[in-house]
Amino acid sequence: MKRTLLATCAVLALATAPALAQQKTVKIGFISTFSGPVAAIGNDMRNSFELALDHHGRKLGGLPVEVIYEDDQVKPEVGVQKVQKLIESDKVDFIVGIIWSNVLLASLKPIIDSKTFTIITNAGASQLAGEMCSPYVFSTSWNNDQTPQAIGLYMNQKGVKSAFLIGPNYAAGKDMLEGVEATFKGKIVGRELTTWPTQVDFQAELSKARNAKPDAIFAFYPGGPGIQFITQYSQSGLKGQIPLYTAFTIDSLSLPRLKDQALGIPGAQQWVRDLPNEANKKYVADFRAKHKTDPSFYGSQTYDAVPLLDSVVTAVKGDLTNKNGMRDAARKADFKSVRGSFKFGPNHIPIQNFYLQEAVNEGGEFRMKTVATIVENDQDKHVQKCKMPN
């Protein structure tokens, strides 16, 4: 009896604690992944977010900031619980982050129902751009199919006649393969979706790809599984035979591990670390000074959330209950993005350029490099499905 009472008292004591906290701080709940083979992504996002806060004197619109980091473990059911906790127990003013489209889809209902102002800094589920768009939810990233659409265009340029597509079997994987199919004019000779995130052994699928004899393979594997995919692609001896095109598979996080295995494999991205604008130079230089490595695109999108929030909180003069005011301010995208300036579409998804990027060896260090611009001011194709309630 005593034991349960004690535990209950502890719950009660903890439950009341947040209510006593200071009122005039901006409380941000940050959802990302900090465990397992994709933890590197979450850490990179956190590092960039912290750096951006430092650049802003750890204040947004003049108010001090408190950040609560939560780990979704790449599991939708865990993510939605963490989001609920942030909204109901921590009573955060903003939710920022979310890497995975399936975590996002699971979490959208509590976010929208509670009208919590949210900046998604990676997940690009097409439902968010379309039927599930919401007045208080913004994205600093992209819609899932935009990047593979750009790669599909590039594959056309390279004269690829047939392709084998492979990606993980979750919301984003499906969007990605559809993206390539939307722009790629050649023949799709195979299409594989693998169990996510547990399957990292791709031998059976690589055998299948070899057997299909395509001109090219397209792959989408973020985080640790991406490293495995590229490694197994090299191991299987396919590298010399069938060229690989990628989206979100080779980035500054995987490069130190992949090294020259990543050379000669093209990818597309809306941000590359060498984009020539002032905000980006400062971001990349300070990040390298602090963490001795390049930030990734995940980090860049998360970095952008801070100046965006700063512009929002400033516009409403710190009145965080004025959600319509904050929404209107956010729609202007009035801040210096590290990708160069961009506009929000009516569904709150950026309209932006996509670049061709490749890994290069710069005096022993492997880094990403912009090669060309594939598309300019690209808008996602789901925007018509969005009936933005005002």
């Binding site: 009896m1 034991r3 349960t4 535990a7 209950t8 502890a10 719950v11 009660l12 903890l14 439950a15 009341t16 947040p18 209510a19 599991k75 939708p76 059911e77 939605v80 619980q81 609920q84 906790k85 109901e88 127990s89 489209s101 399936n102 889809l105 699971a106 959208l108 209902k109 509590p110 079997n169 979750y170 919301a171 169990t195 996510w196």
Partner: protein
């Protein structure tokens, strides 16, 4: 039965009173998360009580009980996705499908015993788990958001958290009552008799297989109800609801609380989930007291304590928490 006011009865009453007062507390402090947490506890308690009916009293250790959570939840989710939101269809169907599944699994599994029974129930649960994974239309791996909770006309508004909480609580108490009645009936006596000596029960003329099968189906139906509640609570279903570790969690709740009593699993689920929420904070607090500053890292490792605790309970406190309380009177 020397009197109604034993320490155990007082304890059970106290737990029920605390559970009944949670919404009041949440309303007073504005902490709605407490209610979210306890709604979850109550729903899983229903599942644990149903598992204990077959495991604790019938000796049928099902390592696939989470399958019914999933089946109940998926019936709700699939119907909601297809535009059927009325609870008058959703809930009976959830119970029916769970019951039919239990009937099939029971009919095949109850021919085996011991560890083979554990494994075959696991096998069937894994099959359901993979079926859910393969349901592309209903989200596959990613799961499915339920946009509307079950509707009961003007009768009940489940979207109101407080109403939903009390619906769950009433169903929990009803479950405990039903299971208690079963255990203390002639039927229950046969089930418990079959646990200790199946052959003898058959020798004196009881078709134990049929008795056990009925018991297995009842437990499946109750757990299906819990699944229907869980889907309504989280507004989300996914195969993870029936991952084998979830079945393990249910066993842990039952054993932690005490398999020997009907109410034990309720205590177990409260204890386990409250520990899960508070232990990290308590460890953080303790590290604050000891070292003068809160060691953030220490908070994350609370399961380091939970794991060995389970082993110790298995070794030294087979009656679980309930057993400890019951023996406190004697000791």
């Amino acid at each position: 039965m020397s009197g109604m006011i034993t320490p155990r009865n007082a304890f059970v009453a106290a737990v029920i009173v605390v559970l009944a007062l949670i919404p009041v507390y949440a309303a007073m402090t504005g902490n709605t998360f407490m209610m979210t947490l306890f709604t979850r506890i109550i729903i899983l308690a229903i599942a644990a009580v149903s598992l204990n009916l077959i495991m604790g009293f019938g000796g049928m250790v099902s390592f696939g009980h989470a399958a019914y959570l999933g089946i109940g939840g998926y019936v709700i989710g699939i119907l909601a996705k297809e535009g059927i939101n009325t609870g008058f269809v959703q809930w009976p169907l959830a119970l029916l499908v769970s019951g039919l599944f239990a009937l099939g699994v029971g009919a095949l599994s109850l021919r085996t015993r011991g560890v083979y029974f554990i494994m075959i129930t696991l096998a069937f649960a894994q099959m359901v788990y993979y079926i859910a994974n393969g349901l592309d239309r209903y989200g596959g791996d990613d799961g499915l958001t339920i946009h509307k909770r079950s509707e009961f006309g003007g009768l009940l508004n489940l979207s109101n958290r407080t109403v939903f909480y009390y619906v769950c609580l009433v169903l929990l108490l009803a479950t405990v009552y039903v299971v208690w009645r079963i255990i203390n009936s002639r039927f229950g006596a046969v089930i418990q008799g079959a646990r200790s000596n199946d052959r003898r029960m058959r020798a004196i003329g009881f078709p134990t297989f049929r008795y056990k099968l009925v018991c297995f189906v009842i437990a499946g139906v109750i757990c299906g109800l819990s699944g229907a509640l869980l889907a309504n609570h989280t507004n989300f279903i996914s195969p993870a609801m029936m991952h084998w570790t979830r079945s393990g969690d249910l066993i842990v709740m039952a054993v932690l609380g005490g398999m020997g009593s009907v109410f034990g699993p309720v205590i177990g689920s409260v204890a386990l989930l409250v520990l899960e929420e508070t232990l990290p904070h308590l460890i953080g607090f303790a590290s604050h007291v000891i070292t003068g500053k809160e060691v953030v890292a220490a908070k994350e490792y609370w399961q380091l304590i939970l794991g060995p605790m389970l082993l110790l309970i298995v070794l030294f406190a087979r009656g679980g928490i309930d057993g400890l309380i019951a023996s406190a009177r004697r000791g």
